[in-house]
Symmetry: C2
Subunit: 371 residues, 2 copies
């Protein structure tokens, strides 16, 4: 343990175009280094309240917004444990690795879990959803908004009404879309909408957040063996009473999130932010077309926050990633079974069009060399 | 959301003498603000490895040391879910609020949980332990080293051999003692030894760590419904293969921990660090005696990291805490049922004797005013 300062210089130059953790602006990093009082202090409660109220605005909801000391996967597990009784069935729509993970969470927690998948690269359509829901009686439905592995965005605005019509609770994993894509929680009737902060929020990892509907809280009260760490009822109790958490939360990330919510809501503004993410995605797809590559997702369902690109030129992806890294930019290989068959460019958080243009120019030259 | 910089000035002056989160030195805060690569990068794996190897030295163990994106309570839940089969019984020794919490975790996860408590302020003695173990057949025993609520340190060096003799797995919650008190994991046969980093490590909250024995991993493989988020087998797999975690970890806290482990092991040194914590506790107890207060814990079992002090002078504790706060120091009221009957001074992490002396001088004057 001689040199703890590895990557100190490199780190400060490296610009992440990743699907998370993403590039964190200097002003947000500075928030991470501020000294804090304890999690039972008034200054903490003030921060917690600002996060909760900021998230309500961001998600267009009156639902309580809770803070979790976990990654988004922790809240995915919380949904399964709090909302599904052992004698009920849960339906997991999966369009990629994170949909599969949610299903595995269902199975590994001993819940009766049914997976409805589609070929990777495709989205869940209204027809697929309706058919799956007609097949059996479910109590809860789990679905990704944006699937980080395939870069597909489910048509959640069309799917939510169909799913809710069947009388279930609806949990939406918005990990790589919350704060980058408009999600109107109350209008869509989403019972739990969850995300971690190291994606579109551009905050360092270690914190996850979600909105929870009254119906979801009421259901949780009836579910046995919810455990303690992810118990929604206990989390709500502390949140409502004092804007606090039952266990010690990641205060630096919460402080950074207050700064980012302030920036998102009051500086950039929601509409401009969602528009910028749309433009970043369009710009990337235009580049993909120009360089004779192809998008992996089915046309019309491409994500606004991460572009998954088919390796149709048979490029040596690890080499490409490594060459780009030496130029100060990180993009990433495909996820799991999609490694080397695809690669991914993240364009979320505080990435601007001019940043993207610069990086793509360098990447074009590297691809020219490699193809 | 007009002023996100609340407590900015105050925060930088405030000195925490708390039982966690504790005062974080400037050099550690700076680590929190450094830019990081992703959790699938080589620089991350290097940090992860440094933490794992540093913890092995700190805990005198060859056991794998794992990283959790949770508070210590998360690992307490992981122990229950991974190590206790539904047809087995688990024994929870409790000497205060955190012992009670571990028992509640057992119950709320549907495990057959037996609690053996003693009057708050007392420790588990060898006799109490032996008698409890004789009463029934248990598969796992859960116990605190330091109980943060009562300020009692269980005689873990005497208890561990007795507990292990009964053939169980032994889980020790060392949350407020790890890195402040010597715990020889391999010598004592501790199967899981866990802590969060916002106590004796003096790192901001949002990260928890533990050592896990081979026997514990082997047991976990046989336990059903372990869930996914806290699955020890999955965590071990990623850790051994690549020094990574299955889900995105709190990288800033991990970076800060590498810096602190380097400082603890190579700058201050373990023996000096444990000795300093002992001296801080002795100094506090001497002050308690001089000011005509009394320690809450039974004599001989007082914690080296947090002093729980009986309110024998009938002081207005909230007023005392508030007056001290206005002088730039935070101590805290008693925990839960001990509020106003006791108060607590934390002396862990990087607190030095001269810091403690300064604070106690100010506190003495306030108590003189109030009594």
């Amino acid at each position: 343990m001689t040199d703890i300062h590895f990557n100190k210089e490199k780190g400060s130059q490296l610009k992440l175009f990743t699907p998370g953790p993403v590039h964190v602006p200097e002003r947000v990093l500075k928030e991470m280094a501020k000294p804090n009082d304890t999690h039972r202090s008034k200054p903490y409660s003030e921060m917690h309240q600002m996060v909760a109220e900021g998230l309500q605005k961001l998600l267009y909801t009156k639902n309580e917004c809770l803070i979790f000391t976990s990654s988004a996967t922790g809240i995915m597990e919380a949904c399964v444990r709090n909302l599904v009784n052992d004698d009920e069935k849960a339906l997991f729509f999966s369009i990629g690795a994170f949909g599969d993970r949610w299903y595995e969470i269902g199975v590994s927690n001993g819940k009766k879990s049914i997976k409805q998948g589609v070929e990777w690269g495709k989205a869940i359509t209204s027809e697929v959803a309706q058919e799956a829901l007609n097949n059996d009686k479910y109590s809860v439905v789990f679905i990704q908004a944006n699937e980080t592995s395939t870069g597909v965005y489910n048509p959640i605005n069309e799917l939510a009404p169909i799913i809710k019509e069947s009388g279930v609770l609806l949990c939406v994993d918005a990990t790589s879309s919350m704060a980058g894509v408009k999600i109107e929680v109350d209008k869509l009737g989403i019972d739990v909408c969850l995300a971690s902060v190291q994606k579109c929020f551009a905050v360092p990892p270690g914190l996850a957040v979600c909105s929870v509907s009254t119906a979801a809280f009421e259901k949780a009260e009836q579910v046995k063996n919810r455990g303690l760490y992810f118990d929604l009822i206990d989390l709500k109790k502390r949140h409502v009473a004092k804007y606090q958490t039952p266990t010690t939360p990641p205060i630096p990330q919460i402080r950074a999130l207050t700064a980012q919510l302030d920036y998102i809501l009051n500086e950039e503004g929601l509409d401009k932010r969602f528009e910028r993410h749309e433009q970043l995605a369009k710009h990337t797809r235009k580049w993909v077309n120009e360089i004779n590559l192809e998008m992996f997702p089915e046309k019309g369902y491409e994500s606004n926050t991460v572009s998954t690109i088919k390796n149709s030129l048979d490029i040596d992806i690890p080499k490409m990633v490594s060459m780009l890294l030496s130029k100060g930019y990180r993009i990433v290989n495909g996820y799991g079974q999609l490694a080397n068959k695809t690669f991914r460019i993240g364009h979320m958080g505080e990435i601007q069009i001019k940043d993207l243009e610069k990086m793509l120019k360098v990447l074009s030259e590297i691809i020219d060399d490699l193809k």
